[in-house]
């Protein structure tokens, strides 16, 4: 993560050097978008980013993150950044008229870049991008399902089948600057039914039985890339609007999310 701050107590000369560096950095992140109508924000930014930016850019506070991530649209087959737009709800938080957007998008990104720029590693599950854990489970009924996995490891590969109740995907933070890996975790729910020994001799309706549910870690493994097949209908538990039906492909996304926050905003995620 890269952060840019200018402290008020800093010496003038250092401040000038820093300001110059920041200006250069903001130039790199500058996006030129001609947007006249609110409805064109997404398209305008996409077009602009496709032409200029090597990264994915989201503008806003961290509180928008969920909305941004879950509102993803299909990634393009090309290598162009396809994930970039200001959520429409933004207009409520920051009342931007179309005219201000036209001027404001450029200015805002440029100026915000001088405040704080974060590069976040993200991962892809089918056509959606995630910054946090992606939890996958069964659509309606509780219980276990058979998950068939085909996994590419850092060095090696694995095909596995496992009983699963919940599948969690998250990124492994690496201290070294290595390629990011996904952590695949499968948990399975086990149900135990026990009858109180003192009542074992009684008729069934007089007995007291205790049903306990517990989750067992079925598998966890760092992977480079993977796919999952299940005959059951699966949903994304953490973000239900994301489609995870059919064969599920997951891998770290090759690009980082360049996240530009406004003035020293507290992290509220």
């Amino acid at each position: 993560m890269n952060s840019f701050f200018i402290q008020p107590t800093i010496a003038d000369k250092t401040r000038d050097i820093l300001a110059d560096q920041l200006r250069q950095a903001s130039q790199k992140t500058r996006v030129e978008a001609e947007v006249w109508h609110t409805a064109d924000i997404r398209q305008g930014l996409q077009t602009a980013l496709a032409q200029t930016s090597p990264t994915i850019v989201a503008v806003g506070s961290r509180t928008w993150f969920d909305r941004i991530i879950t509102a993803t649209h299909s990634l393009k087959a090309s290598d162009l950044p396809a994930f970039a737009f200001i959520p429409f709800d933004t207009t409520r938080l920051h009342p931007l008229s179309p005219f201000i957007i036209r001027r404001g998008v450029n200015a805002a990104i440029g100026s915000l870049a001088a405040r704080k720029v974060s590069h976040l590693t993200i991962f892809q599950v089918n056509n959606s991008l995630f910054t946090e854990t992606c939890s996958i489970g069964q659509a309606e009924s509780r219980g276990t399902f058979l998950a068939k996995l085909s996994l590419l490891l850092n060095n090696g590969n694995l095909t596995a089948s496992s009983q699963a109740s919940r599948i969690d995907l998250s990124l492994i933070e690496s201290i070294q600057d290595e390629a990011p890996l996904l952590r695949l975790g499968i948990r399975s729910e086990l149900i135990n039914q026990s009858v109180s020994p003192s009542k074992a001799g009684l008729l069934p309706d007089k007995r007291t039985s205790l049903k306990t549910h517990r989750f067992e870690d079925a598998l966890h493994i760092p992977i480079e890339k993977g796919s999952l097949i299940s005959t059951e209908k699966l949903i994304c538990l953490s973000h239900p609007e994301v489609d995870v039906s059919g064969t599920l492909n997951f891998q770290p996304y090759p690009k980082k999310l360049k996240f530009i926050t406004s003035k020293n905003q507290p992290i509220r995620y």
Binding site: L151, L153, N154, N155, G156, N157, L158, T159, A160, S161, S162, Q163, A164, I186, S188, E216, D217, A218, L219, H220, I221, P222
Partner: protein, 122 residues
């Protein structure tokens, strides 16, 4: 706690864990600890610790720093430090390590070999 039991959370600490609910095949070349408590067919190469737990059923070769066997293996186990075969283990194949310990009760149908330590240069 019985002597052959590690602390309860050791599986969660392992980089790779395959439980008894998992059937798998493939190859690992990792630098993390691995615990296999399910069916696995293939090769494991790690610079860390490898445990084949009670329900582990491994067909293939293992190359690790330390190996503990509580389940079954059919293949060659090669450890840099030591191999620890517990009484619940069933081993077929080869055990190669500077130090090998076999608990009474373990079913062994394997050749054990201790590689000669390298000579010191004066």
């Amino acid at each position: 706690m019985p002597a052959n039991k590690l602390p309860f959370d050791y599986r969660h600490n392992a980089g790779v864990y395959l439980s008894s609910l998992v059937t798998s095949q493939g190859s690992f070349d990792i630098q993390e600890d691995i615990v296999i408590n399910g069916e696995f067919r293939g090769e494991v190469k790690t610079t860390g610790f490898c445990e084949i737990s009670e329900n582990g059923l491994v067909t293939g070769d293992i190359d690790a720093r330390m190996i503990t066997i509580l389940g079954s293996i059919d293949g060659t186990c090669r450890a840099k430090d030591n191999i620890d075969v517990k009484k619940s283990a069933k081993v077929k194949g080869h055990l190669i390590a500077p130090a090998i310990s076999i608990e009474s009760g373990a079913q062994i149908d394997a050749r054990c070999k201790q590689p000669s330590s390298p000579q010191r240069m004066s």
